[in-house]
Symmetry: C2
Subunit: 136 residues, 2 copies
Amino acid sequence: MGIKTPYVAVDGIIQLFDSNDNFRGIVLIERKNPPYGLAIPGGFVDVGESVEDALIREMKEETDLDVEILGLLGVYSDPARDPRFHTVSVTFICKAYGEPKAQSDAKEVKIFKLEEIPFDKLVFDHAKILKDFILR
Amino acid sequence: MGIKTPYVAVDGIIQLFDSNDNFRGIVLIERKNPPYGLAIPGGFVDVGESVEDALIREMKEETDLDVEILGLLGVYSDPARDPRFHTVSVTFICKAYGEPKAQSDAKEVKIFKLEEIPFDKLVFDHAKILKDFILR
């Protein structure tokens, strides 16, 4: 049918808790591939997969965490948000326990308190997304 | 890069008001193309276009209404929701004034009071979406 639409990705703001349910911070990754920098973990949705399933799979692949989805933060679709090509991000807020480990596209996984997020090091429009999360 | 993701579409629940700001109902279309039936107006997002711009364009193309976006209802991505191929719908709630006119993919445009929506005539997962809207 010749339909051409942007790529669809999912991103997850993972709120990490310890076993006593104390909030430890947000999980961000240091990207292994361009664009280099700090990012909210995420990835592309496969054909045949719901965005929720894609989110759970991608969070596991990148951080080794099993996340629980708490809700939708928003849909980010500015054509200029990804320097490589037009990607629509469906961004979820989620929750996880345990120790993240860098996997797949992540060179390193880091935990940041909300007050210590280095907004100038974030790639794509992830600084805007995290600000929307904090101000929601 | 060989990335393959589902198609991205937008759908709009249009709350129609008269010039005295009285709520008239929701705008639905009778589809001209398969699958035949009643649907929430919507369409595919173009590469290079935000989902918000796509929504405003599609609502105009299908109903001739200039809509104001009020917020996001949800993202619907069950691989079986569209019988033709996997389509992710970013569904917005919006508001419009004036008289809708059938255009483009719409054979007819109809206005339904919430209590009179014929859920059994809706295509795709639009009955579920409208129930989510009513129960939100």
